[in-house]
Amino acid sequence: MNTTGLLVFDGLLLISIVSLAWSALASPDARRSVILFMAFGLVLAVAWGRLLAPDVALAEAAIGAGLSGALLLVAVGEQSNRALQDNALRVSERNALRVRATLQWVITILCVALAATLAWALVHALDRATNERLAQIVSENLAASGVSNPVTAILLNFRAYDTLLELAVLLTAVLGILALGTARPDYQRTGPVFDGLARWLVPVLILTAGYLLWVGAHAPGGAFQAGATLAAAAVVLRLAGERSIGLPQAGALRVILAAGVGMFLVVGLTLLLLGRPFLGYPPAWAGSLILLIESAAMLAIAATLVLAFLGGRPPAIAVNEENNRC
C-alpha cells in the first residue's frame, strides 16, 4: 500500500472508531449501546493490527470487545437487572435534572479542554521521542528471557511482577463475583442447530487455546488470549444448555482459580529460596518455567472469565449458602 492509500485507510479507520465510540455512548438504548461498543472494540483490534500490535489486537478482539461485550450484552438482556439500566446511582434525581443543562455544558467544555491539553502534551511527548533506549534494552535481553516474542518476554519475564499482580486482580474480581451472589437462572435451551454447531466448535476452541498458549513464546499469543478462547468454549457449552459446562466442583474450582497466582508464587519463591532473585529464572529454564506459569494462568483465566460470564457459581456447584447477614 502506498502512503496516500495508507493515510486514507487510517482516516477511515479513525473516523469509524470515533463515530462508533460516540454512538455507543450517545445511544439511549442499552442493548444498542453495547453492540456499538463491541463493534468499536473490533475496529480497534483492526487499528492495533495496523499499528503492528498483533498481540494487543488478539487480546482486544477476544477480551476487550468479545468478552466485555458478551458480559455487557448478557447483563443488558436480563430483564431483572434494573440497577444497571435505571439511575440508581444518582444522588438526587430532581436536583440533577435542574442543573443538568448547565452541567452538560460545563462538563463538555471541560472535556474538550482535557482533550486539547492531552493532545498538546502528547505532541510534545512524541517530539521528545526518547523511548528508543528501553526498546533497545528489551531486544538486547530478549535472548536471556527464554522466549522470542518480546511482548511475552516483557509480560512473563521482565515485568512478570505486573502480570502476577494482574492475575491477583483477576482473582479478586472473581472472588468478588462469587461473594456477591448466585448464578443467573438458566437460559432457554437453544435449538438443535446450535447444539450441532457447539459439538464442533468446542473442540476447535480448546485446540486453539492450546495453540495460542504454545505459540505465545515466539509469536502473538499467550496465556490471556488462550484463557479467553478456552472461556469462549465454556460459554458456547453454556449457551447450548450444558449446566456444569466442564467446571469442576467447588474445591477443585478454587484450586484452578488460585492456580495462576499460585504457580507464579511457587516459581518465584522457589527461586528466591534457591538464592536467585524472586522470579529470576535461570536462562536455561526460563522457557519451560514461563510455559508452566502460562499454563496455570490460562486455566485460572479461563475459569475466571467463565465465572464472570455466569455471574456467579453455576447452579451445579453452588454451595447451599443462605445469606444470613445481620
Binding site: V34, F40, L52, A53, V56, G64, C111, N131
Partner: protein, 95 residues
C-alpha cells in the same frame, strides 16, 4: 514524529475525553461502565500509538505489554461492576 503516531494518538485523546464526558454526565450505570471502557480504550490507543515506529520497523513492545495488562484489568473491573449491579437489583427487590 510519524503521522500515524500523531493521528492515532490524537484520536486516543479524543476518545478519552468522550469517555470521560459520559462517565461524568450519564446517569445510567450501563453507560458509565461502557464509558469507562471507552476511556480506557482511548488510553490504550495513546500507548499503542507511542509504540509505533513506522511500517516495517519493529514497534516498542513495552506499551503493548502494558496495554495487554490493562485490557485484562479492565475486563475484571467490568465483570465486577456487573456482578455488583446484579446484586444491587436483588437487594432492591428484597427491600
Amino acid at each position: 514524529m510519524l503521522t500515524a503516531q500523531l493521528l492515532y494518538g490524537l484520536t486516543g485523546c479524543l476518545i478519552v475525553a468522550l469517555g470521560l464526558r459520559t462517565v461524568l454526565l450519564h446517569a445510567s450505570l450501563l453507560h458509565r461502565v461502557v464509558a469507562i471502557n471507552v476511556l480506557g480504550a482511548g488510553v490504550f490507543m495513546i500507548l499503542v500509538a507511542i509504540a509505533y515506529r513506522g511500517p516495517g520497523v519493529p514497534p516498542d513492545p513495552i506499551p503493548h505489554a502494558l496495554v495487554l495488562t490493562g485490557i485484562v484489568v479492565a475486563v475484571s473491573a467490568t465483570a465486577l461492576a456487573l456482578a455488583l449491579a446484579r446484586r444491587l437489583t436483588a437487594e432492591q427487590s428484597n427491600d
